[in-house]
């Protein structure tokens, strides 16, 4: 859906993006993560056609962003991190303007306003002017303006900043709903736990470079070739790690006399067989749990890997499937 090739962007005296290349799959929700100044906003603005890069190309749904920015805007929604609203207009007028400005045909605009208001819980606020709205409601109006024309791609820069926990939860629900409708989302946020709820992919940036771009394994682990497990015993058992080490599909990462974090290679059947063998071997196992890596851990691992100079295989053009090796 989004194809970026050799994208380099400079600010005076500072290279914000270094030869960024990647392909974002249609229908995915990509969490764009990175520290301040990593290049997240610049990347989004380049994809949105709001900035001209030094070199490189960006195409969205087959359209060249630099050549046909207005055509791209018809199929794209963008919420800037520093957005503004027309204070004197009502929510309905804001939505009507956004819909018409994005080229929605006049007869379908009233329906689009109602649908968007319903999606964002703004139906009873349609006649209220924006200057009377709370920060959270203003954020929802801004998101509504970005999605009212049902874009194929939605770029959101810090969409949840300033929202209360309840509003964040409903926003996550909205993003899942939009993804289910086939929309491709690229969402930047510093709150990784929140991104974790709805992201299917992670794009980590550091100093304007792609640290890692890969699919996240939120779904069934049945097909995952490698998974992280934590095995805990009912009581301390010295030397039990030797028993674990004897298992060829296990690799011990950390542990003590009562617990161990291991990487297991195998499917669900092999996992069940492993548990049976360990219990059969006399270990009093009190818990045997799948340790899913969350986005925060995944990102920090990417950063650690980058800082250790192990960037070779992570700088990839297309997302890898499943979890990359720890």
């Amino acid at each position: 859906m989004i194809k970026i090739s050799g994208l380099t962007f400079d600010y005076p005296g500072h290279r914000a993006l270094h030869q960024v290349s990647l392909q974002v799959e249609a229908g995915s929700v990509t969490a764009l993560v990175g520290s301040n100044g990593a290049g997240k906003t610049t990347l989004m603005r380049c994809i949105a056609g709001l900035e001209t890069p030094l070199s490189g190309s960006i195409s969205v749904a087959g359209l060249d962003v630099l050549e046909q920015p207005r055509e791209v805007h018809r199929i794209m929604g963008y919420l800037s991190d520093f957005y503004g609203l027309y204070q004197a207009l009502t929510v309905a007028q804001c939505f009507e303007y956004a819909a018409a400005a994005q080229g929605l045909p006049a007869p379908s605009i009233p329906q689009a306003i109602q649908t968007t208001a319903r999606q964002l819980g703004l139906t009873d606020r349609l006649q209220q002017t924006c200057d009377k709205l709370s920060r959270g409601l203003r954020q929802r109006v801004a998101i509504g303006q970005a999605i009212i024309h049902a874009p194929q791609i939605l770029l959101l820069d810090e969409p949840a900043s300033g929202l209360d926990p309840e509003a964040r939860a409903s926003l996550a629900g909205l993003f899942r709903q939009l993804q289910a409708q086939g929309m491709t989302l690229l969402v930047s946020s510093h709150i990784l736990a929140e991104l974790d709820e709805y992201s299917s992919h992670m794009l980590a940036l550091r100093d304007g470079r792609v640290l890692e771009y890969r699919a996240l394994d939120h779904g069934s682990t049945a097909l995952a070739p490698r998974k992280s497990l934590r095995i805990t015993l009912a009581q301390a058992t010295p030397g039990w790690h030797a028993q674990l080490a004897a298992e060829p599909a296990l690799q011990i990462n950390a542990g003590d006399e009562r617990s161990a974090d291991v990487i297991f290679s195998g499917d669900e059947q092999a996992q069940a067989a492993l548990l049976a063998r360990l219990i059969g071997g006399g270990l009093a196992i009190s818990s045997f749990t799948d340790q899913k890596e969350n986005l925060q851990q995944s990102y920090l691992r990417s950063v650690a890997s980058y800082e250790n100079g192990e960037r070779g295989e992570n700088n990839q053009n297309t997302p890898s499937n499943g979890r990359s090796a720890s």
Binding site: D10, P12, L50, R70, Q87, E96, A100, A101
Partner: protein, 436 residues
């Protein structure tokens, strides 16, 4: 479907209160004046008051609103949303131009109607032409303000964000207006043809209003990231030169064109984005042989700089055109010097552009325009003056070559200045440009 931008502006501009208040207040003023005219002598004529009110409501207040149409979008952080819309530049331009000023035009049309009625009653001549002239002047002011704001948006000039453009346009209009009014009943010769002055003024105003709208549209194209090759700026220079030369029946056309090209280059240079990252983008396209991309990213000032050299070459080799203006320095006495003056001026312009870029390419420099002006004032004014008062007259000529009687020497020194400035710029580039 109605232009969404125009409609949005109408929502903002009109309310029931405003809709009623404008005709009510204007009606009250005209009613009071007509009673005063009936009862007292020496009261200002109704048609004149209508014109003054038109100037206030449409030309002054309207220009401020036209300026706000762009500035407020940036200030309220809604500009990105507009740039992300699918509206084409023309729709956006006229939507803003006539939408942001719609309420002013509502009052303005009422004033013009009052003017026509009062003027007809007084059997005043050329009512329609005068109305057209005023309406065109208002559109010219609105469109010029919008074009300038859109253009300055690309630079870091904070004066533009504070509404400085509005005041500049209004000031210019009010400085120039009295000189037009003084010749109101005369005739004028333009390119050998005689025109009635008021008709010519109306036609000129409509012509300039059209140019201003065109400029606003071109600036909007750039603001909306639409690929725009900078041909309109040099074309405007040629058209304005042709218009200006018409008053002297074509005499001095090339000199007028050269002076306009010089002025337009300076104006654009000091008002455009020229940081090193921006120029690296252009150089990257040149290195890749992407000439179309290069032209699309090029600022407008190099086009009139190139045009200056074209006009200078034509003046140097092609013609013996007399200067259409007097010279403030001793060069006016030497015919040989005049034939080299054009190329010398073009080379000095090149030098000044290099000096500007030298400061613009620094990461630390924030007031590039002011710094450049300061250093150019030192080179062109302070240093030659210092040399003169110290009795080093020959040395002073090295700083300010225009005072030299010999054409070749004048040209050589200007060329030396340009080469030194280019070398300095090249050094700064090598120091500051980020490696690919």
């Amino acid at each position: 479907m109605i232009n969404p931008e125009f409609k949005r502006n109408l929502w903002l501009q009109f309310s029931l209160h405003r809709l009623i208040a404008m005709p009510a207040i204007l009606g009250l003023i005209f009613f009071a004046l007509s009673i005063a005219n009936n009862n007292f002598l020496g009261v200002v004529a109704l048609d004149s008051v209508a014109l003054i009110l038109f100037a206030g409501i449409v030309c002054l207040w309207g220009t401020r609103n036209a300026s706000s149409a762009v500035i407020e979008e940036i200030r309220d952080k809604t500009w990105d949303q507009q740039r992300m819309s699918a509206l084409d530049p023309w729709t956006m331009t006229w939507g803003k131009l006539f939408g942001a000023t719609a309420f002013n035009w509502y009052g303005g049309v009422l004033c013009l109607a009052a003017f026509v009625i009062a003027a007809l009653a007084r059997e005043r001549s050329m009512i329609l032409v005068d109305s057209l002239t005023l309406a065109a002047l208002a559109i010219l002011m609105h469109a010029a303000t919008m074009a300038l704001n859109l253009h300055l948006m690309r630079s870091d000039l904070r004066a533009a964000q504070r509404g400085g453009v509005t005041w500049a346009v209004v000031l210019l209009a009010f400085v120039l207006t009295p000189s037009f009014r003084s010749q109101i009943d005369s005739s004028i010769v333009w390119w050998g043809q005689m025109f009635y002055y008021r008709s010519f003024l109306a036609a000129s105003m409509i012509f300039f209003a059209a140019i201003a709208i065109f400029a606003a549209w071109r600036s909007m194209r750039s603001a909306l990231q639409i690929a725009t090759i900078p041909w309109a700026w040099p074309l405007a220079c040629c058209v304005l030169a042709a218009y200006g030369a018409g008053f002297s029946d074509g005499a001095g056309l090339l000199w007028i064109a050269l002076m306009l090209a010089l002025a337009m280059t300076y104006a654009a240079l000091f008002s455009e984005k020229n940081d090193i990252a921006f120029w690296q983008r252009i150089v990257a396209r040149a290195k890749a042989g992407n000439w179309h991309g290069l032209l699309r990213n090029l600022p407008i000032w190099p086009t009139t700089l190139a045009l200056s050299f074209c006009f200078a070459l034509l003046l140097q080799f092609g013609g013996d055109q007399a200067l259409p203006f007097g010279l403030p320095f001793r060069l006016s006495a030497t015919v040989a010097g005049i034939s080299f003056l054009a190329m010398t001026l073009a080379l000095m312009l090149l030098r000044d552009c290099c000096v500007y870029l030298f400061f613009a390419f620094s990461f630390k420099s924030k007031r590039v325009g002011a710094t450049t002006v300061l250093y150019l004032a030192i080179i062109n004014g302070l240093l030659p003056f210092l040399c003169n008062v110290m009795g080093l007259n020959v040395l002073s000529l090295l700083f300010m070559p225009l005072h030299i009687g010999s054409g070749w020497v004048m040209l050589s020194i200007a060329a030396l200045h340009a080469v030194l400035a280019l070398a300095l710029l090249g050094w700064r580039w090598r120091q500051q440009a980020l490696r690919a």
